[in-house]
Symmetry: C2
Subunit: 125 residues, 2 copies
């Protein structure tokens, strides 16, 4: 239970095979193993890393910054502080995102109430 084909990895990670190739090409997936015939072989660590990437991506981190994080991660223990700061900054941005979404949801819900009112007009009281 620790060697996965590209297809399995795509399924488990939620990224398409093309995206996996793309990510490796641009440097987001360093050190992916290959078998004798040159095919990618992913391991559990790779899957974990992909989980982190997915999480960062879906919270809106641009690829350039994920690349920076990846490079730091390759840098070993001396980069822990920087990685920590990067994630803390991102965490704050996620907070702001959530706050902003909620504010805007207020606006939408106000509009919904308004339409609901109009939709009820003319109905028997």
């Amino acid at each position: 239970m620790s060697a996965y084909s590209p297809a399995e990895t795509a399924e488990k990670s939620g990224f398409s095979i093309d995206t996996l190739r793309y990510y490796e090409k641009i440097g987001l997936l360093p050190g992916i193993a290959r078998n004798a015939s040159g095919r990618r072989v992913f391991c559990d660590d790779d899957l974990q890393w992909l989980g982190m990437l997915r999480c960062l991506r879906e919270t809106g981190m641009p690829i350039a910054e994920m690349l920076r994080y990846t490079e730091l991660a390759r840098g070993g223990d001396e980069t822990v502080q920087e990685r920590l700061e990067l994630l803390q900054d991102h965490d704050r941005r996620v907070d702001e995102q959530i706050t902003r979404l909620r504010e805007q949801q207020e606006h939408i819900q106000w509009k919904i109430r308004l339409y609901s009112g109009v939709a009820c007009e003319g109905l028997p009281a």
Copy 2:
């Protein structure tokens, strides 16, 4: 206080002048007035509409769907029900977005705690 130049409108709405032109061109801003020399003149209603567009945009509604909403809005009172449904669907998607962001934030914060731990190792107890 009810006639605004493109520049003023850009400032008040938060959209760039180019984006305002673009939105008018694709049909998100129907019926923008023009003065004698062909320049756009925005009114308070336009600003309100822009506020709604901004809100939908920032909560992730694709332009194609905003266009549908715009067309419904032009359709008058018979379309209120459809507009209501559109906004309710969107409202649900915003809920999901927020939920998802929070889940992923958990993951990030777990990683932050992990790094904080590593960063403290070796410090005097």
